[in-house]
């Protein structure tokens, strides 16, 4: 591990976590799903990131009361979630598994879920129609689920998660296997929910999916919390690793010689065609503040500057695999 878990981003003083793990562990026999996890998730969209087997699904199943923590506690909206069915009125889950009642139509499935949530038959039918429209499934709602594509299934699963108008929505790998259109639509739906005051916790092992949704992330690996907070805050954690800043210039070699003389530059790698270079620095702020002087001096032509570490992939790589 290259970074210590950090405290969550501080919100307004009166805001309390929607999901609160306190020293929670979950063992499956000898296998550890979650290991002494202390984590507070604040309202808004939160991305839950980690490779396969990191414990994301276990975390979500604990947070939705499907599993009981072997140790510690899990609270949602200030209440213990395990064996607390009343709390299910306020949470929704779009599960990772693809299973649906295959013999039902999409409308029937969502209406059935609404009836299970306590709505009358007519209310449930109205709910189903509305939600299926919201997720873009109106055209296919009367088709049998068995013939649905992956994207249609994800949309239908999302619709069932929304039948009780939950305050907190848990989405377990919602983009898996979906085509770009479905992915875009699902992201829009999630953003829209957040704009309407819902909190969404979305798990994924595909980093750019989460990056497109939120800057607020939780990184898990092997059942442990690796880091939590804003992607930039997490990047700041990586003081053990030099930040990588890419400069595109037609004068890369002489410019590299100048930059190497700076105390905050650790090293420079030139690209094969000398068109760009990757500067490694432990003090990116100092480096960035010096760049305008170089540019306006007229001696150097700098076409483009960007940080490789703004990409979640890089952050993830640093924190998890190194």
């Amino acid at each position: 591990m290259c970074a210590q878990p950090v405290n969550p981003v501080d919100g307004p003083a009166e805001v309390r976590p929607i999901v609160d793990f306190r020293n929670a562990s979950k063992w499956y026999g000898n296998v550890i799903g979650i290991n002494k996890l202390t984590l507070a998730i604040m309202p808004g969209i939160t991305g839950l990131l980690g490779p396969n087997g990191a414990g994301k699904s276990t975390l979500l199943q604990l947070a939705t009361g499907q599993l009981r923590p072997s140790q510690g506690s899990v609270d949602v909206l200030g209440h213990r979630i395990w064996n607390n069915p009343a709390l299910n009125r306020d949470i929704g889950l779009c599960p990772e598994q693809d299973a649906l009642y295959e013999w039902m139509t999409g409308r029937d499935f969502v209406a059935t879920c609404a009836r299970l949530a306590g709505f009358s038959r007519s209310q449930a039918a109205d709910k189903a129609d509305q939600l299926l429209e919201d997720v873009g499934m109106t055209r296919h709602k009367n088709r049998v689920v068995r013939g649905y594509s992956k994207g249609m299934r994800q949309r239908t699963k999302l619709a069932q998660a929304l039948v009780n108008d939950p305050q907190v929505l848990f989405l377990d790998e919602p983009m898996t296997g979906t085509d770009p259109v479905a992915r875009h639509d699902l992201m829009d739906i999630v953003q829209n929910l957040a704009e309407h005051g819902k909190s969404v916790i979305v798990s994924s092992h595909v980093l750019y999916e989460v990056q497109a949704l939120t800057q607020n992330i939780v990184l898990l690996n092997r059942g442990r919390l690796i880091a939590q907070g804003n992607i930039r805050q997490i990047r700041d954690l990586m003081d053990k690793h030099p930040h990588r800043i890419v400069l595109v210039s037609n004068q890369c070699r002489p410019l590299a010689a100048v930059l190497l003389a700076q105390p905050d530059v650790e090293g420079i790698r030139l690209s094969a065609n000398d068109a760009s270079m990757v500067v490694e620095t432990r003090r990116p702020d100092a480096f960035y503040s010096r760049l305008p002087q170089l540019a306006v001096s007229g001696e150097w032509s700098i076409d483009e500057v960007y940080s490789q570490d703004d990409n979640l992939e890089a952050v993830f790589h640093y924190l998890v695999t190194s």
């Binding site: 396969n52 499907q66 009343a86 998660a161």
Partner: protein
């Protein structure tokens, strides 16, 4: 049910504040019962069981067509009161009740149920009720069909009443079996093996041995009720045979009124109490039990 409150409720988003409160308990439970019934209807299980349950009627038809002079009452006893309760009903209950929640778990759809505001105990009981309904329906179907096959065109009187009595007693046995196997299904993953072993050893072997131990079997009480409310005497020309007393090892020689055996009401109470205890126990286990769902990640 009140949510258990932790020590940090201040400032936490409130629960259920801006939307319609929905009924808690009954309506979702009813919806769950309806869903489970529909699942039974869409599965292949009922077709397989129905095929099995028409076997007595087929045997009755073959017996009548082949010209063997088996009196209808003998046929009735052997098929309706021996073959069906001993061979088919426990199996039917096992098939329907062993997977009350496990089927949903296997098919990974249990999440959609557990994520609803229904206590797990109620989830179990609703689905048990659906399994019992399906099993009862098939039991009545089998008994009625067998009676039709045996007695159609024979001119024997009182058949409808006997058919009704048979349905009632077999229904009672099926309810008890369903509750028992439902509990078994929560206690062991190999419920089919355990259940079949139970059917063979306890309900099959033990129930036919005239010993106190048979009082732990369901079939013993069902037989006692049957014997007390129905007559199984057949006149063979030489003497009157009490088919049930002889076959079921009831000591009518020393105790013609079976006063040493439990009364019909006691039998009924015992069976219903057992069913209630099994159901309550299973519901309690459900409330404590986790139902793991294999995610693609875990499967991989």
């Amino acid at each position: 049910m009140t949510p258990q409150t932790s020590d940090s409720s201040a400032g936490t988003p409130t629960i259920g504040n801006s939307r319609q409160e929905t009924a808690y308990g009954f309506r979702p439970a009813l919806a769950l019962y309806g869903l489970a019934l529909r699942q039974h209807q869409h599965g292949k299980r009922w077709m397989i069981m129905a095929l099995l349950l028409i076997l007595p009627a087929i045997i009755a038809c073959l017996s009548r067509m082949t010209g063997f002079a088996i009196p209808p009452r003998s046929l009735e006893f052997n098929l309706v009161f021996m073959f069906i309760p001993q061979g088919l009903l426990p199996l039917l209950a096992l098939v329907y009740a062993s997977g009350i929640l496990q089927d949903e778990q296997e098919e990974q759809t249990i999440t959609y149920i557990l994520m609803r505001p229904i206590p797990r105990g109620i989830v179990y009981l609703s689905r048990l009720a659906a399994a019992v309904t399906a099993a009862l329906g098939l039991t009545v179907f089998s008994v009625v069909l067998t009676y039709v096959a045996i007695f159609a065109g024979t001119g024997v009187h009182g058949v409808i009443g006997r058919c009704f009595d048979a349905c009632a007693v077999h229904g009672l046995a099926v309810v008890t079996y369903c509750c028992l196997f439902g509990l078994m299904g929560l206690l062991t993953r190999r419920v089919l093996i355990v259940g079949i072993t139970y059917i063979a050893l306890v309900e099959g072997l033990l129930a036919n041995i005239p010993f106190t131990l048979r009082m732990i079997t369901v079939i013993y009480y069902a037989r006692l009720i049957t014997y007390r409310i129905m007559s199984f005497s057949v006149n063979t020309g030489y003497r009157v045979h009490d088919l049930a007393a002889e076959t079921w090892q009831l000591n009518t020689l020393n105790d013609p009124k079976l006063k040493l055996e439990p009364s019909s009401w006691l039998c009924l109470t015992i069976l219903l109490s057992a069913a209630a205890v099994f159901s309550a126990g299973a519901a309690f286990i459900c409330m404590q039990q986790e139902f793991y769902v294999k995610t693609p990640e875990k499967t991989a």
